[in-house]
Symmetry: C2
Subunit: 246 residues, 2 copies
Amino acid sequence: MTYCVGILVKEGLTMIADTRTNAGLDNVAQYRKLHVFERPGERMIAIATAGNLAVSQSVLSLLNEGIRDPETGELETIHTQPSMFRVAQFVGRAVREVFRIDGPALEQSNTAFEVSMLLGGQIAGGRLRLFMIYRQGNFIEATEDTPFLQIGEHKYGKPILDRAIKFGTNIEEALKLGLISMDSTMRSNLGVGMPIDLVTIRRDAVQHDLLHRIEPGEPYFHDLRERWSAALRAAHQGIPKPPYKG
Amino acid sequence: MTYCVGILVKEGLTMIADTRTNAGLDNVAQYRKLHVFERPGERMIAIATAGNLAVSQSVLSLLNEGIRDPETGELETIHTQPSMFRVAQFVGRAVREVFRIDGPALEQSNTAFEVSMLLGGQIAGGRLRLFMIYRQGNFIEATEDTPFLQIGEHKYGKPILDRAIKFGTNIEEALKLGLISMDSTMRSNLGVGMPIDLVTIRRDAVQHDLLHRIEPGEPYFHDLRERWSAALRAAHQGIPKPPYKG
């Protein structure tokens, strides 16, 4: 499994991803799922991936190595796209290209072609944007009304985001809420695990503000988990008993 | 969708179920999913249902009307079973009987035969027990290590239970936590909705302690939701900012 969340607020964007992959419970490994394509001042793009690892790795290789434009013959990469919208379309094209190559063999063996991605970032002159790309290569975009997007095992960590994330939430609070959401997911699904990669990008900076890996035992995250647990305990204990009778 | 939770603690058992059913978002209705079979002092049994409404209603009808034992020819009902284990087997038989009758037609139209049930209660002379019955008619039982079981849309409401429910949790606290879990689920999935039915059974009482329907706007539940939201807000605001740099 995988859990990745992207949160787009007024101040900027944060994206958080776990690193656990598994092919069955008896085959667990660690892979980076948060990837950064950065040319400071020119473009700052982050991609988080979920789904079949073979598919997502092939998509990432295509984004770097490029796909030849069928009309002009030119080699396009993630670095040649002029806007975040065009990057999203290009990632979608890469997904479809991998499906074209690998999809039939996967289908023959009844293996689902599963991939989904969060794409966030900014290209100089354009807006900071956050997209979610589907396995079909199409995509949706986060908005002020719905400022976060999730891929992978999204349900356990969604209630806290539903309650707390607003477009006006500040970026540190958004990161903190994303980490709480990740913690809830890791507690309920063994397929989501440490270390955790995260990136934050401030609006119009066109470079990363923070690029960090939280390793197991890291003091701040440990403290966040403890404090959150203690606060939840105090919260439910502080609610009066049900008054119902009979 | 549906969300039902059963929590078995030292003091007793609580079961909570929503009442919303839907066949598509444009066809929403209200049906009781928590059913009680009670003969005070002799047996107190509660069943919560999820899945295809036609299937679960047929199963409940069979439990009441009875299934003829193929060997003895006697009519067995939920009231003739001598133990909770035998009740669980009988519910499983009823599920298989409905599958025998309706399964082939459902499969022909590519409609899944979906049903799952929580079965809790006590028969005089036996133990208070809680089971989850699968669509295949087999079942598992809650234990001291894992004292709660969920059916339907279980993920949104699981983190709080994972953190807080222990076998030693008192019964009012278990009910309160079940209601918080229900609240989280209703906020994230429109297919789960009010009113909420609940039952609590104290160990060895062999009758219900509480049988209640929470209607929309009911003051205690409204207050619980408000307090929980406020406490979560205070909880995440009280956690220090992430210290990460660079």
